[in-house]
């Protein structure tokens, strides 16, 4: 019942297992991270100094999304170990 965790997000989690959710919602997340990271590398590669300030814009998406991907991989790995 907050904007972070709403009834919609709760019902998504109750609609499937970790495996089914990570092969649907998780795929969207991984695809997004790959696109953002590739773009970030390209921006840095083609900037004259190699430290493009425009690439900073992408870090607002890449950093939190990488943290989320790491959490998904950790959860899947923990499930695998069980």
């Amino acid at each position: 019942m907050t904007s972070l965790v709403s009834r919609s997000t709760e019902s998504v989690f109750h609609s499937g297992t970790l495996e089914s959710l990570s092969t649907t919602f998780g795929v969207v997340l991984v695809a997004l991270v790959i696109v953002v990271l590739v773009e970030q590398r390209l921006m840095r590669a083609f900037s004259p100094s190699g430290r493009s300030s425009t690439a900073r814009s992408l870090s607002v998406a890449s950093v939190p999304m990488l943290l989320t991907v790491a959490a998904v991989f950790a959860a899947r790995f923990a499930e695998f170990l069980k």
Binding site: M1, R7, S57, M65, L67, A71
Partner: protein, 269 residues
């Protein structure tokens, strides 16, 4: 910084160009559509739409940054909303205790908000992390208790699991204070309201309230969404008057703790 200095802070920061204004309308509409899709129709489709919107917004922002355009901060701040919802839908919460959900989703969003405020050049005073005078802040913080009760009576949620007993209640309340009270106020009243001030000729309070309300559509309860819209508007007005988010963050934390921990256990049984 004195209260008078904070109040006198010139709020009009970003006058956006016509092309950015048109894009801003489209992005806000797309965010509202994505949120409605997630709440009522197809969560996966809503998430895909959010991912596209996020990619477009951050690339538009990067392009503006390359042109040294001053409006780029508006788009970078708007990008926090898709980040918030994508993180909340893709984080593997089923593996965690319910009370940890807020920290798990909030941590990436907190990182994003910190980066965005750094890249936008926002100071602590800009985002309201100042305490000019404690009395009005304490008074507004106290409103969180009755607001939490009203919100509980409207929405009637069950208590967050793992918060029974005093240690559980305290731990849960701390979690909600940081990751709901502070984080949501930092994003909406601290950043959106400040950065959007004057965008399209509208006050920042309008933008922060509208976007805050849109992000609550997922509650799937019209009365609760209306209540949160009113709360957002009142909090926005207060922050505009005082230049500080300290009081409203505490009020929001109390509201969330009452709604999700205290009132369901005291009244709901």
């Amino acid at each position: 910084m004195s209260a008078a200095e904070v109040r006198e802070r010139e709020p009009s920061r970003h006058v956006v160009s016509r092309s950015v204004a048109a894009a801003l309308h489209l992005y806000v509409a797309a965010i509202a559509i994505a949120e409605a899709l997630i709440a009522f129709a197809a969560p996966l489709a809503g998430t895909v739409l959010y991912a596209f919107v996020l990619l477009i917004i951050i690339n538009h922002d990067a392009w503006l940054r390359a042109q040294s355009a001053s409006e780029s901060g508006v788009l970078m701040t708007l990008a926090l909303l898709p980040v918030l919802r994508i993180a909340s839908l893709t984080m593997p919460l089923t593996e965690l205790p319910e009370i940890a959900w807020y920290a798990a989703v909030g941590t990436p969003v907190l990182f994003a908000a910190t980066l965005a405020s750094l890249w936008c050049g926002l100071t602590r005073a800009d985002i309201g992390l100042v305490l000019p005078s404690w009395r009005p802040q304490a008074a507004v913080a106290a409103t969180g208790v009755p607001l939490g009760l009203v919100a509980y009576l409207v929405a009637e949620p069950s208590a967050v699991a793992g918060t029974s007993g005093v240690p559980g209640m305290i731990a849960g309340a701390l979690m909600l204070f940081v990751f709901v009270g502070l984080l949501e106020e930092l994003v909406f009243r601290g950043m959106v309201q400040t950065v959007f001030e004057g965008a399209l000729g509208l006050p920042g309070v309008f933008w922060s309230t509208m976007l805050f309300t849109v992000m609550y559509v997922g509650a799937r309860n019209a009365a609760f969404v209306a209540l949160m819209a009113a709360v957002g508007l009142a909090f926005g007005w207060f922050v505009r008057r005082t230049g500080s988010i300290v009081g409203v963050a505490a009020a929001h934390g109390l509201l969330a703790s009452g709604l999700l921990i205290a009132w369901p256990q005291l009244i709901g049984g």
